[in-house]
């Protein structure tokens, strides 16, 4: 065997062995194949507070380009989304469709917030024109501050020219959204955390994200409970996990209402949007008995839905896809919404109203 033949054999064998070895490790260990979803969730989790009540994630580019979204936009909400997106772009210079790759949002009900309702922050990764964004926001009344070496653009409440704001239902393009002058620490803020990553939301949480980025510390990524719930979300391009008990406690509901709500501690929604929508809704009840009760309630609703839908064949596949599962304290409902359902919804929306 000549030297080059020997080299060829060695290289070929190496490719096969390394490939099989990597696959085998991935099969047994759960090797992450997604660049941004490692075993502890998206990397941006380290910038969110450990006390987060709800964390939501979306692969914006994938969802925006999905066939389902295109159909939904045509069929159900043709103009409304564009108006909202245009207003946001006018205000911040960020085009949601083209600039943002993915977002991770957090709502923290334990912080005070402007009305004692908690605060939120959104971390968006994508391609951003920092100079343009800053100039636009300043033009609309925001001011720039420096916080631990990061530029922090602060406005107060975002007042878009929505319906009722005397702008012809948002259609008057001569009116632009404005930030009103800052008054307290609950201002709307935007910070450029690193190239391609911005944080926008309440000033407290944006500053907290900067604190975590600069100095580290306890974050959502170090909260084992959050991480264990987020780990189960892998594979979805849209998901949310949250603490229902915390939200309920902060909502200050009347006792009569609060007592009627199922005793859920955690909830999660994992969705995959492409040609259709596949989703898994899970809830973790306080104990096994509560979970059984919740399963009974959901089962009843499912039976009712199946009964009601028998005369509407276009929705039958959707209702038939609803599947209740879960053991112990977990209750899960999976669903598969084919794109035909959205077509049917569009057809219903397009029908003229029946005369009274």
């Amino acid at each position: 065997m000549t030297v080059r033949t020997r080299y060829f054999v060695i290289v070929s064998l190496l490719v096969i062995i390394v490939g099989l070895g990597t696959g085998l490790v991935a099969y047994y260990v759960g090797f992450p194949t997604n660049a941004f979803f490692n075993r502890t969730g998206p990397e941006e989790l380290r910038l969110l507070p450990s006390s987060a009540s709800v964390i939501a994630f979306a692969e914006v580019r994938e969802v925006m380009a999905s066939d389902l979204r295109q159909r939904f936009r045509k069929a159900v909400a043709a103009g409304a989304q564009e108006n909202g997106q245009r207003e946001f772009q006018n205000l911040t210079g960020i085009n949601i469709e083209t600039d943002i790759e993915r977002v991770i949002a957090c709502f923290d009900a334990t912080t005070s917030g402007s009305k004692g309702m908690g605060e939120g922050v959104v971390l968006a990764r994508g391609t951003f024109d920092n100079v343009k964004i800053e100039a636009l926001m300043r033009e609309h009344g925001a001011r720039v501050d420096d916080y631990k070496g990061k530029r922090l653009i602060i406005g107060d409440r975002f007042t878009p020219p929505f319906e009722g704001n005397d702008n012809n239902g948002g259609n008057d393009t001569t009116q632009v959204p404005q930030f009103t002058p800052p008054q307290n620490s609950q201002d709307f803020s935007l910070a450029f955390l690193e190239p391609g990553l911005i944080a926008l939301g309440s000033r407290t949480l944006v500053q907290h994200a900067i604190d975590l980025q600069v100095g580290g510390g306890a974050s959502a990524a170090t909260n084992d409970e959050i991480v264990s719930h987020i780990r189960a979300m892998e594979g979805g391009n849209l998901w949310a996990v949250g603490r229902m008990d915390v939200l309920r406690a902060r909502a200050k509901l009347p006792d009569i209402v609060a007592n009627q709500l199922p005793p859920i501690t955690w909830f999660s929604i994992r969705g995959r949007i492409d040609g259709g929508l596949q989703a898994l809704l899970s809830a973790e009840a306080r104990d096994d008995e509560s979970a059984n009760n919740l399963r009974d309630v959901v089962r009843g609703f499912l039976a009712l839905a199946k009964l009601q839908i028998s005369s509407k064949p276009e929705f039958q596949r959707f209702v038939q896809s609803l599947e209740l599962s879960g053991t112990g304290r977990t209750v899960a409902l999976s669903l598969d919404v084919p794109s035909q359902v959205f077509d049917a919804l569009g057809a219903i929306a397009a029908q003229p109203p029946k005369p009274q």
Binding site: T2, T5, G19, L20, T22, Y28, F31, S66
Partner: protein, 266 residues
């Protein structure tokens, strides 16, 4: 066996660095280039929607295995290399030099067959592995699809061995083996799979296709018909038949080469 290994050692280098290897390189390189292009496309945006379902990496990998490897590359390599094992020596009038050596003629065939198998397996399997790692992460997970990769590699190696053995026999038996081989691979095999009954059992593809771990793509009317008439044998039955095909074909080829007088054209 020692003489077969000597022939193997000599033939492997000859096969790898021959002009025919350009064809082999193109055949196994095309799926890699295609997979790289798909990967680049997927980096810019999601893959297209087909029949209301978005195409994802594992599905695409299954399609590549079916359409490129099982239906095309494996039979083509079997035909071009298998038929050439003896026919090339006859055409080049060099078979006399081999036959004058003090070794059994059948061991020459066996050595050349082993060289063919090493050559194609060492080129095709790395190509499949590279395609897998390029395509499957698009909307899929490497770990989840790994069992199908292992099954694919095994299936392709057995397929290459079976087609190679059959065409080695054809090459040893028939004077113009390439045409007969092409007719068998792309005429007979495709046709009998569409005919209901037992005739399909006289093909390699019938047993090989039952080992493919992916669903057959319904890319054409023929595929739909094939799926309709397909009564897939169990995996263990297919494996036994494929090993029998390899053994029987090599034995027949050995017998043929031992008894046949090759008349070299002047």
């Amino acid at each position: 066996m020692r003489s077969a290994l000597r022939v193997f050692d000599l033939s492997l280098g000859q096969m790898l660095w021959s002009r025919r290897s350009v064809l082999l390189g193109l055949l196994v390189g095309a799926p890699v280039v295609l997979a790289a292009a798909v990967r680049l496309y997927a980096e810019a945006g999601p893959l297209p929607v087909i029949n209301t379902s978005r195409l994802n990496g594992p599905t695409l990998f299954g399609i590549v295995i079916w359409l490129l490897f099982v239906r095309f590359i494996v039979p083509v390599l079997g035909v071009f290399y298998g038929t050439a094992l003896i026919a090339d020596e006859v055409d080049d009038k060099t078979i006399t030099y081999l036959f004058t050596r003090p070794v059994r003629r059948a061991s020459i065939l066996l050595g050349k067959y082993l060289a063919y198998l090493a050559c194609v397996v060492l080129l095709v399997l790395p190509s499949v592995v590279v395609v897998y790692f390029l395509v499957v992460p698009i909307g899929g997970r490497i770990g989840e699809s790994f069992p199908s990769l292992a099954a694919d590699l095994g299936m392709l190696a057995i397929g290459l061995a079976a087609y190679g053995a059959v065409f080695a026999f054809v090459g040893a038996r028939i004077k113009r083996p390439l045409i007969a081989g092409l007719v068998f691979a792309f005429g007979w095999e495709s046709t009998v799979l569409l005919i209901p009954g037992y005739l399909k059992r006289l093909s390699v593809a019938y047993y090989l296709q039952s080992l493919v771990p992916h669903a057959m793509p319904q890319d054409s009317t023929i595929s739909v018909l094939m799926q309709a008439f397909q009564d897939q044998p169990p995996v263990w039955v297919s494996l036994i038949y494929l090993f029998v095909i390899v053994g029987l074909s090599l034995w027949l080829a050995g017998m043929t080469i031992e008894s046949r007088e090759y008349v070299l054209e002047q």
